[in-house]
């Protein structure tokens, strides 16, 4: 079951930097220590929390490469030299930095990581240079909308501890080609985890583009069914997308991956019956062109 997600960077042969979902670092560290002590005590490895040591500033958008270049002259930022999911070491606004080309927004994005005592100085330098790009700070609410437009999950919001990577359409991140086993390999093959009809992550387009289906709304297939109605899933994330001009939602729906185009109904406590169509969870730029 998915319990967390994050990016791990290989810093050298025996050195890795792990990030987790927001607030998840201590939990993941506990599991690492537990497995080290109980399952693999023979492995020589140490874990150190660096959550507070690093400040990470993310710049996103079509001008992000140009902005970064104006405060960083010792990293080749060109697309050929600095691929997606790579990291580089250098200086940003004079501060020693690691720059990661990763994106939670779906936009061309660079995450600048500096020791936290440099963070405000780097922030201010970025905004001084960024004025000509109309650089604007964005907060978690905006980030939530941007990632949902791309179908990126938030652990704990789109998952609840009962969801596998396959349910999320994220088989691509499970490496079956590994020469050794890994935690979850057998578990994910349990009969209950591969049976048809499991709740699967899909997108939902409300039939009324201006209506945002409330998160947590239960889905039913037959709006006329007498109570108790058969619930087939629920809405996990739901927003109005200013970029698209209509509402979007993510939902976990039984058999959802095979039901694209189907209409579902979401009865509300106030008596309204909302309707939505199952779509791909990727609403914006499915080709990923904006990230190049």
């Amino acid at each position: 079951m998915v319990m967390d997600d994050g990016v791990t960077a290989c810093l050298s042969d025996n050195h890795f930097l792990m990030s987790t979902t927001t607030g998840g670092a201590a939990h993941v560290l506990s599991w690492l220590e537990l497995y080290h002590q109980t399952e693999w005590p023979e492995l020589d490895v140490y874990f150190t929390s660096v959550t507070d040591h690093w400040a990470t500033l993310s710049i996103a958008g079509p001008n992000s490469r140009e902005l970064l270049a104006s405060v960083c002259d010792d990293i080749d930022l060109s697309a050929d030299a600095f691929g997606f999911m790579d990291w580089r070491s250098g200086h940003v606004a004079g501060a020693p930095a690691r720059v990661f080309r990763i994106s939670f927004t779906g936009e061309l994005s660079f995450e600048i990581q500096v020791p936290a005592h440099y963070a405000m100085g780097v922030w201010q330098a970025l905004f001084a240079e960024g004025e000509r790009f109309d650089l604007t700070p964005y907060g978690t609410e905006t980030m939530h909308v941007l990632r949902a437009e791309k179908g990126f999950i938030i652990v704990g919001q789109d998952t609840d501890g009962s969801v596998t990577p396959r349910d999320l359409g994220m088989d691509w991140c499970v490496a079956d080609s590994k020469p050794f086993s890994f935690i979850g390999k057998r578990g994910m093959q349990r009969a209950d985890c591969v049976r048809p009809g499991r709740k699967q992550l899909v997108g939902i387009r409300c039939t009324d583009p201006a209506t945002v289906i409330p998160e947590g709304s239960q889905a039913v297939r037959d709006p006329q069914e007498p109570i108790p109605m058969t619930m087939v899933g629920h809405v996990t994330s739901s927003y109005y997308s200013a970029f698209l001009g209509h509402s979007i939602a993510l939902a976990l729906i039984k058999g959802g991956h095979d039901a694209e185009g189907e209409t579902l109904y979401f009865p509300q406590a106030d008596g309204r019956m909302l309707a939505g169509t199952i779509t791909s969870p990727v609403f914006v730029d499915p080709e990923g062109a904006r990230n190049r």
Binding site: Y46, T48, S49, V50, T51, D52, G94, A95, H117
Partner: protein
Amino acid sequence: MSETMNQWVAAEVAGDGSGPAEQAAQTVSTQTPLHHVNFAELSHHRTQRLTGESARVVLKEMPLQGLLCLRGDPDQISLADAVSSVTGLSLPQPLQSDERDARCLRWMAPDEWWLSCGIAEAFELESRLREALSGHYAIVNISAGFTTLLLAGEASRSVLMKSTGYDVHPRNFPPGKVVRTLFGKTGVALRCLDDARYEIIVRRSFADYLWLWLQAASQEYGLRVEA
């Protein structure tokens, strides 16, 4: 061994300043975790002038310092030798520390020590330790993740007694002893410096909480802040 991350903070080594990146870094602003409190201004505030002389608790946020987390097997003679040859400090016994000049080595756990030093020499010390150490060890620079507070004054131990369940009486908590314990609702590393001076190391994200806590806990004794 010089891995990519070791080019860190080359610019922070005082006296180099040769390349443009190094020169730029020396002018990059830095902020301690309690920068927003503005202790310098607060220490001159009129209420400080009124109560300062009678205050029985004194608080100061120390300047940024280097902090390296060292992990290794204490039974390895080579570990202790390497540490002492590079730092001039002995690998302390459980709950002890060794201090000389601006460097201090603290026992934190059976296989963990924290080395503090001037921020300008953190990179060099880490590099020299890596050259001297071998086998299974880890050194992680955690400097920016913590702040160090100095709590002093004749009522400083009373503030500790209100804040932690740990027995801070001098017979149990003499100078040099260092413990990680619960303080308010956060964890800290607490070191006794002398009878009325204590060092509190707290995570950056809990620093403001601790500052608020210490203000409340010190109020009845009078608090003077220094910068």
